[in-house]
Amino acid sequence: MTEEDKELFASGHRMCAGCGEGTAMRAILNVAGPNTIATVATGCLEVTTTAYPQTAWDIPLVHAAFENAASVASGIESALKQMGEKGETNIISFAGDGGTFDIGFQALSGMFERKHNVTHICLDNEAYMNTGIQRCSSTPYGASTTTSPSGDVSIGEDRPKKPLARISAAHDIPYAATATIAYIDDLKKKVKKALEADGPALVHVFAPCPTGWRHGSDDTIELSKLVVETGIFVLWEAEDGEICDINITKKPKERKPVEEYLKKQRRFAHLTDEHIEKIQKEVDEKCEQYGF
């Protein structure tokens, strides 16, 4: 079998050049394998991969509405159970940050609560990118978006990012983790663990967006590395609701200043030294909570 045959996420999708989601999706589907059924919420992933009459998915896919990817996946899991399937088929619900943090949150929480054997994967690019960069509850403090523009009286988004993976872990689900595309082996390992978990699981994948964050298309991987090295996005995993392993291998020995990450993106270009200091302080406090 050649490498080409193994690709379950086909080339020819319409993602922007340098999109982090493409890298993430290739890795995720190659781990999941052909015996997988996916559902996808409305979002970048859906509009770029399902331009009718073509599809970039080499596995069965159901496109639901914006809010119910996790509910549709629950239904598929229940139906397969009734039909006598032994749980060998992987069921994954994909959504962006809008379809997970905001609009799809009720469906996701319900899926966790009912203990369906479904893995939810959130591809987080920190705003509603496919409709034109509107802010979302995943948008970080200080980012300028079209609905939280920076200006004389505003610094852009004035709320911190919602801790999605921690909220998910608090549902006492068997597995919740955060990952990013720069550490691709770590991402693959976490997706594998999530799929093998007996019950609902969540993987929160950080995927930079050159169009919405206003950075060069070749900066994608470097930014997803910097976000970990500065401590802004912490890579960890939790089993049965207990944070058991703040991934030691990716624990930065010496954290870089947040400025290095912020300065590479034009959505943060308006921030003054005071703002950056404030963000640095918040990151320091958060890292202390995680123990480094």
């Binding site: 080409e4 020819g12 890795a27």
Partner: protein, 89 residues
């Protein structure tokens, strides 16, 4: 414009059919690999968002039908074996 026959409920019966759509035309920069320098670490293969890097016997090659020219491979190559050059039409 060819006519597209719409199936019942818009069900798409051709998995992976986006391969028919060549995204290579979006490109303004084109990657070139120096196979002498390539150590086959396959970082470019892993990081390419478009699946446009293919393994060969002794190095890698680019599938220019799909490469959008984002430059991630050039940036992430640990031995600087890849260089982005302006696409000539």
């Amino acid at each position: 414009m060819s006519k597209v026959k719409i199936t019942i409920a818009g069900v798409n019966k051709k998995p992976g059919s986006s391969r028919e759509y060549k995204t290579g035309g979006w490109r303004t920069m084109k990657p070139e690999v120096d196979i002498e320098k390539c150590i086959q670490c396959l970082k470019c293969f892993d990081y390419c968002p478009d699946g446009a890097v293919k393994k060969t016997e002794d190095a890698i090659e680019f599938d220019l039908d799909y490469c959008k020219g984002c430059g991630i491979c050039e940036r992430e190559c640990p031995v600087d074996a890849i260089e982005m050059k302006v696409e000539e039409k």
